[in-house]
Amino acid sequence: MSAALDPIRLRARLAPRTLARGVIAFAAFVALNVAIAALVVSGALDGEWYDFRDLGLGVQQLREWLDEQTADQPGWLTDILRSTTWLSYLVTALLGATGILSFVGGVLLVLIWVERRLIGRIQVRRGPNRVGPFGLLQPVADAIKLIQKETLIPVGADRVMFFLPPVLVFIPGLLVWAPVPWAPHMTYVDTNVGVLYLVAIGSLATLAIFMAGWSSNNHYALLGAMRTVAMMISYEIPLALSLLTVVVLTGSAQLSAIVEWQSVHNVWIVVLLPLTLFTFFFASTAELNRTPNDIAEAESEIVAGFHTEYSGMKFGLFYAVELGNAVAVSALTAALFLGGWSMFGLQEWVPAYLLFATKVAAVYFVLVWLRGTLPRFRLDQLMAFAWKYLIPLALLNLGVVAIEAALFRRWEGEGVVVLGGFALANGLLTVVAVRGWARFLGYAPEREPLLRPTLTTGVGGLRAVDRMRTTR
């Protein structure tokens, strides 16, 4: 088969006109960047509301302006609320909530497409490419289709309990975004118990999922819900322990302070605590019900798990919230382990929230990659892995990091040397502990003869395409 006929290797040829357009667009992009850089260097932007490197400045000025307005004319609301700043408080709260909601909503629409395209490429196929340019309108088409599908309520289902979960499951999915630091002055709820808040919010979704599985009156749904609860509460502990380790090192449970710490010390926590990142990432893929840990909705075992009986838009909501949680976990990983908005000084030049979004996208790519490549674990393997492997390792790691944190407070002077030593020690600890504990528990790779994968063009689809092309 010639390369031109091979549907997998088929590439569009680059026309000269397209090339010229591309060159012009690239030149315009470079010129725009040079102009922006000149503007930034000139200092004309510093401290003004239209300085988009720091959206917090604009909000601050808006707040001050609103406070002046309310301070002049105290009304009855001022008396009741005993505050002269209630208007600015309400406006900024609504602004922030709208910002978070529009980010999550927009990202959901795009990421459905991104995820399906990426998994398509990983599995050597195209993915959605029919609706709109590059299939970009596929999520919109999906949403329209789901909205106009019939929603069934199974016989004997608990109607109220059946209706509530698709709504309830959104609450933790959106509330988890509250303490995320987007940029130096951009945190919606900058609370000093941020990490504890995350632990509290993270376990709420279990409740909605169990309601969904229980109320469906379906054996598969109930099984899926029971599995979800067992798995999610087991992995809650390594998750909380790894968050705790980060808190021990930085000495603060405030997410913006943790990012600030990484920015000040010019280091990403992933370098200092690789074992913690491993625990956190594995546990959060379990919390997300994503492969390799998606036993809650294992298609080949229990149909679709807890949402077997959900159809139409209700299923769509479950699907959307699953993606949204994946993005939220990417954001938390980026903030806690990859330096958040800080990028070794680059945040002075580039808007910090763009840096943060880039890191979130990178972590999300890893999640999709895992989903596309790893097979699913068995239920008993997964439970044993949480209790026997991750929890002892997380406890050991916590003890070691606590000693290091105490030492670090005393030797703050030689930060670079001390942190470098910690990074080396912890990297060594990670390798030794992960390998040693796995050997102790008897985990070993399967020693079966590997089957060599061979690329064949004799499979039905390819052969059929070939025949159609040649006979026409």
Binding site: A97, I237, L244, L317, R409
Partner: protein, 124 residues
């Protein structure tokens, strides 16, 4: 400070209720406009069991393993919650604070070891 922050969380909570309500309402409007079918019948509403008729109610007994996991979870999660305030302040408090936490975690780790030994962690 704290009530202000919870007010903001409350605003976000309201948005979180609103967000899923929009598609559900749109779905209902579609039904009203006769764009979406709604013709339930007994066969369609039967619970899905891979084509086999559903056998009995699914609200029966389930494996006692789940209770053991839940109990162990409660103990360890409470432990972690207790450790959070310690984590933010211990570095300035000297070695006594460290060894107190080690003792606290050690007792619980002993419990985990005991549960492991008795086979409570095996999923049968």
């Amino acid at each position: 400070m704290i009530p202000e922050q919870f007010g903001r969380v409350g605003v976000l909570f309201g948005f979180a209720l609103l967000f899923p309500a929009i598609p559900l309402i749109a779905s209902y409007v579609f039904y009203r406009l006769r764009l979406r079918p709604e013709h339930p019948d007994p066969i369609k509403r039967a619970t899905y069991e891979c084509g086999v008729e559903a056998e009995g109610s699914s609200w029966g007994r389930f494996n006692a393993r789940y209770y053991i996991v839940a109990l162990a979870f409660v103990i360890f999660d409470v432990e972690v919650v207790f450790l959070f305030p310690w984590a933010t302040v211990f570095a300035g408090m000297g070695w006594v604070a460290y060894f107190e936490a080690v003792l606290f975690v050690g007792v619980l780790a002993l419990g985990l070891g005991y549960a492991w030994r008795r086979g409570a962690l095996e999923w049968r």
